[in-house]
């Protein structure tokens, strides 16, 4: 274990403005010692560019619009195209129906944190998966 911090990009793909979830999780990850890049609203290209530019370990996509399948697929396609998909842990959080968890995992999302998630579980999951 090095003392290098885990770097997380927290992003809201699209234009829906439910902001609380992204901030709550960002704050908890920061309190747990991680480095947060808060992207706010970003389009798919901006998400991938800042993930590469900031050399992040994790991308958190906060989606409450119901358009989670479309946006996540677009982000993953572009990460793949840029050849960095395997270097980054992709997490999705928000109002996501349980039926969509397997669909998101099939396309490459490491975990989905739906309604009622505890932020402590998100912190724990990231720490388990990223050994730094």
């Amino acid at each position: 274990m090095s003392d290098k911090k885990i770097r997380v990009l927290m992003s809201k793909p699209g234009i829906d403005g439910h902001w609380r979830g992204g901030i709550v999780v960002s704050r908890a990850l920061r309190d747990a010692g991680m480095e947060i890049i808060f992207g706010g609203f970003q389009n798919v290209k901006e998400i991938v560019e800042s993930a590469i530019h900031e050399d992040v370990d994790v991308i958190g996509l906060s989606i409450h619009s119901g358009a989670h399948l479309a946006y996540t697929q677009q982000v993953i396609d572009l990460l793949k195209e840029r050849g960095v998909l395997n270097d980054i842990l992709i997490l999705v959080g928000g109002v996501i129906p349980a039926q969509d968890f397997p669909k998101l995992k099939d396309i490459g999302v490491a975990n989905v944190f739906g309604p009622g998630s505890m932020v402590s579980d998100i912190v724990e999951f990231i720490k388990e998966r990223i050994n730094k």
């Binding site: 829906d16 902001w19 960002s26 808060f38 609203f41 389009n43 119901g66 109002v95 129906p97």
Partner: protein
């Protein structure tokens, strides 16, 4: 409210009772309200302050603590108004008719994120969200489709759009009504037009700065009511609900609402109007949250605070203009995806708060709303919940049935005191646009939701099925999916409109709008003309962006 001699006697007996039961066992929990007001074991006449006629009085007369109408639900029950919209205007129209046939008595349009943010569906940044969180209303044709065969002259319609898009969307609605042959002077309905919803309730996507939003909100109020273009319309609905959902408490909810309302009145008074010219059309929208009695006390306190503010601050003489009329929505944030059926119970209890608190209009959430937009079945249960209260429980038999409860009256006073202090705190920062642009309200919101989150993580605020008696989040609830073809349908709708309209004429009108924005004149007259000629919401909002610039809210983690 009691004779001094008799109070003395009660005090003596109370001291005796306290002493006798000093060591009576109580559970080891904090007895506080959701907004952390400490609650005593017992309330008695000793807790009643002031006198009945000044503070409580009769319904239908100031300070309206007991209700704005003398008969309340004996005269007419509250309007059952479900916030509803999905997929396309045609599909939303179908849902509206379904609810209307089942006894709904008012309509409310839930729009999608593109309509909220003035983005046309041709913009790839927002295209996947067409119709996913509400109905897309991008041009006048959409308004025709939304209201087809709906008696908009008899049933009131709430258009839930905020200052950034309220002018174009409502202008489209008014134009549609005119073309259908209605006199818009007789139209009834509400525009939300709430500056705080799309700033601290949700973050705005490429909107303009709060000082411009405040101006747009006031332009709309000015044009509809004091200028008498649509005089029966409620041109604004101060929507505490939306920021309450973000985590603030009942006291903050009312204070945000009143501070905002006063800033709008001040703005219109600066334009030369008298407050009496329009305050009777200002409306409010509050939450019904988890703390049963605190919410009821909140509604009662709200009526008294508003009536007093209108008299003391704006010297409004007509009592009718000091009435606080409000819509309520049950708390979406109290629902869980883990226990969808229990959400029906939660919603019913919250609806009862609103009714015991004397609301004028109510939305009840559907049990599946922690997971998706409401299915038809879930929306019907939500409507039936209100009908059980109105048709079966007989709570409508008398006005303000909880008045005179030592606890309710004490809590009403307590909420009132705390709200007045919090209004001062906001107004020290300045008018509502300053409270936004300085970041003050963002910080208050953030602190509130982080505190609430900590309470949830520690199990101090309980969500059954989540942090107590946990249940898995499973796939038992059918997920209502919005129409995947909505993007194409809406892109085609705009394409057809653009082929049909006189683009040269429209360009001239949009240039005039640029001028109006630069000169800071009222935007409504020119937006009425432009939307009639087929301007889209996105085209209007792009002119705002071009003239005033895009604003980034001062968010902090």
């Amino acid at each position: 409210m009691f004779d001094e001699e008799y109070l003395k006697k009660i005090r003596e007996k109370k001291e005796e009772w306290d002493k006798n039961f000093e060591n009576a066992k109580e559970r080891n929990v904090k007895f506080v309200t959701d907004s952390e007001i400490p609650i005593k074991r017992l309330y008695t006449p000793l807790d009643m302050k002031g006198n009945y006629l000044d503070k409580v009085n009769f319904p239908g007369v100031p300070p309206y603590t007991r209700g704005v109408y003398p008969t309340m639900y004996r005269g007419r029950v509250w309007t059952m108004r479900l916030f509803s919209g999905h997929g396309t205007p045609e599909e939303t129209n179908k849902r509206w008719k379904f609810l209307y046939e089942n006894g709904e008595t008012g309509f409310s349009a839930a729009v999608d994120a593109l309509t909220f943010n003035g983005i046309d569906p041709t913009n790839p940044d927002g295209a996947p969200e067409v119709g996913t969180s509400g109905v897309p209303l991008y041009c006048i044709d959409s308004l025709f489709a939304l209201t087809e065969d709906i008696p908009i002259d008899k049933v009131s319609v709430a258009l839930v759009v905020e200052p950034f898009t309220s002018a174009p969307v409502c202008a489209m609605y008014f134009n549609m009504a005119k073309m259908r042959g209605y006199d818009i002077k007789t139209l009834i309905g509400t525009t939300q037009n709430d500056i705080l919803t799309m700033t601290v309730g949700y973050i705005p996507y490429k909107n303009v700065a709060p000082n411009h939003l405040l101006r747009l909100a006031c332009d709309f109020i000015e044009w509809t009511v004091p200028m008498k273009n649509v005089p029966r319309w409620h041109p604004i609905n101060f929507t505490g609900y939306n920021y309450r959902e973000g985590g603030i408490d009942a006291v903050q909810e009312l204070a945000f609402v009143f501070a905002s309302a006063c800033s709008h009145i001040d703005n219109l008074v600066e334009r030369g109007w008298k407050a009496e010219d329009f305050v009777n059309r200002l409306a409010f929208h509050l939450a019904a949250h988890k703390d049963f009695f605190e919410e009821i006390a909140k509604y009662r306190a709200a009526r008294r605070i508003w009536a007093t503010l209108m008299k003391d601050r704006y010297n409004i003489q007509d009592p009718k203009s000091r009435e606080f009329r409000f819509h309520v929505q049950t708390a979406g944030s109290s629902l869980t995806a883990q226990t969808p059926k229990v959400n029906i119970v939660r919603t019913a209890i919250q609806a009862l708060e609103a009714n015991l608190g004397g609301c004028q209009s109510l939305h009840t959430n559907s049990y599946d709303e922690a997971i998706c937009l409401p299915s038809e079945e879930a929306a019907l249960i939500a409507l039936r919940t209100q009908q059980v209260i109105s048709e079966e429980t007989r709570i409508t038999n008398t006005v303000d049935p909880l008045a005179g409860s030592y606890f309710i009256e004490w809590l009403t006073d307590e909420v009132e005191d705390r709200v007045l202090k919090y209004i001062d705190k906001i107004e020290k920062v300045g008018s509502i646009d300053k409270a936004l642009s300085t970041g003050f309200l963002y910080k208050e919101m953030r602190d509130a939701f982080l505190k609430r989150r900590a309470r949830i993580e520690k199990g101090e605020e309980i969500f059954l099925g989540v942090n107590k008696y946990p249940e898995p989040y499973d796939t038992c609830t059918d997920v209502f999916r919005t129409n995947e073809s909505a993007i194409q349908i809406e892109v085609d709708r705009i394409k057809k409109l653009k082929e049909r309209r006189d683009n040269a004429k429209l360009e001239k009108l949009l240039d005039q709008l640029r001028n109006v924005c630069e000169k800071e004149e009222n935007v409504m007259p020119i937006i009425m003309e432009a939307t009639k000629e087929g301007a889209t919401v996105g085209e209007i909002c792009n002119i705002y962006r071009e003239i005033w610039g895009i604003w980034e809210p001062p968010l902090a983690i």
